[in-house]
């Protein structure tokens, strides 16, 4: 059975990040034999003075294939990890969704909630109301519990298949400075290399790479965004960074 698991608001200014706790929860699920987890994505929510986030207001989500009878263990395991590892003063929230138990219209409601959380200030009451109406797991684990908003929103954004960036980096086997699109596709889990405006690169195109490649979540796939740049008189592609990545 496929699940979406998302956490939010687990950190303070000096603690480990929410992404690390998401990785730990995924580790608990796998080492306990409850299921297999997929990559973690980071989803940016609204940046606004009225939203009580620490420094960036993002949530972390992953999907997992679990044994149906292990669902309760997965939820309890995630809660234990969240309560043990969340930072002092944080307001952690957890959301677990089983898409097969929802109609697509119901899934659409979660997506809409996620998209709204990127545009406007939402409340805990709105989050709980939606979770209750869809019978999905939403729980708070300390502080004000505001993290439930981002946790539910993060599931909605992951469901879109078109939001966020993947936690971690892709690393190529060689340390060549310039590689082809084909080499990147062969050596990493990146499935597409394209520009932000949508041009998909042919497999023979050359990309000037650094030691780490960061992918974003587009069309349900890990995608490397690139842009043209000039290197000693030759125009080549290079991975996008800065403001382009920050949008995801």
């Amino acid at each position: 059975m496929k699940i979406f698991l998302c956490i939010d608001d687990t950190d303070n200014i000096e603690s480990k990040g929410t992404g690390s706790i998401a990785s730990e929860i995924a580790g608990v699920i796998e080492t306990s034999g409850w299921g297999n987890c997929q990559s973690i994505t980071r989803h940016q929510l609204l940046v606004h003075p009225d939203v009580p986030y620490t420094s960036h207001n993002s949530s972390m989500c992953f999907t997992a294939e679990i044994k149906e009878e292990c669902l309760e263990s997965v939820i309890q395991g995630a809660i234990l990890q969240l309560e043990a590892e969340s930072a002092e003063g944080s307001d952690p929230g957890l959301c677990v969704v089983m898409p097969e138990r929802l109609t697509q219209l119901q899934q659409h409601e979660i997506v809409e909630f996620g998209l709204k959380a990127k545009r406007e200030v939402l409340t805990k009451e709105q989050a709980y109301q939606l979770a209750e109406s869809l019978s999905i797991h939403l729980s708070e684990h300390g502080g004000t519990g505001q993290g439930v908003i981002g946790a539910l929103a993060g599931v909605g954004l992951r469901l879109t298949g078109n939001d966020g960036r993947f936690k971690g980096h892709h690393k190529l086997k060689s340390d060549k400075l310039t590689v082809t699109v084909q080499e990147i596709l062969d050596e990493t889990s990146i499935e597409m290399i394209r520009t932000e405006s949508g041009l998909i690169l042919d497999h023979d195109q050359k990309v000037r790479v650094g030691d780490k490649l960061k992918s974003v979540f587009l069309n349900q796939k890990p995608v490397l965004l690139v842009e043209p740049a000039n290197f000693d008189g030759e125009t080549m592609w290079q991975p996008s960074m800065g403001g382009t990545l920050k949008k995801y």
């Binding site: 992404g19 003075p49 620490t54 420094s55 960036h56 960061k214 960074m241 403001g243 990545l245």
Partner: protein, 77 residues
Amino acid sequence: MTIHNLKLHNGVLVFWGDIESKDVYDETVLMAENCPDFQMDVEDEIVYEGQMTCCNCRFRRWHPEGFTCYKKFPKFI
């Protein structure tokens, strides 16, 4: 050292500006390079790979128009 993009907004000091503009971004590098409190943020929050800029610092708090600083920006400003 003068930083042109700092602005008092609703009583809070905000680094204000389009960070994609080179001049604005360069100021975030200048501040970070001269800041005793600079600390690289966790990997998940880094989008300016390998660069010392306030944008990568764990003490910046993103704001709709830029960012604020938990350390109230370096004292030399």
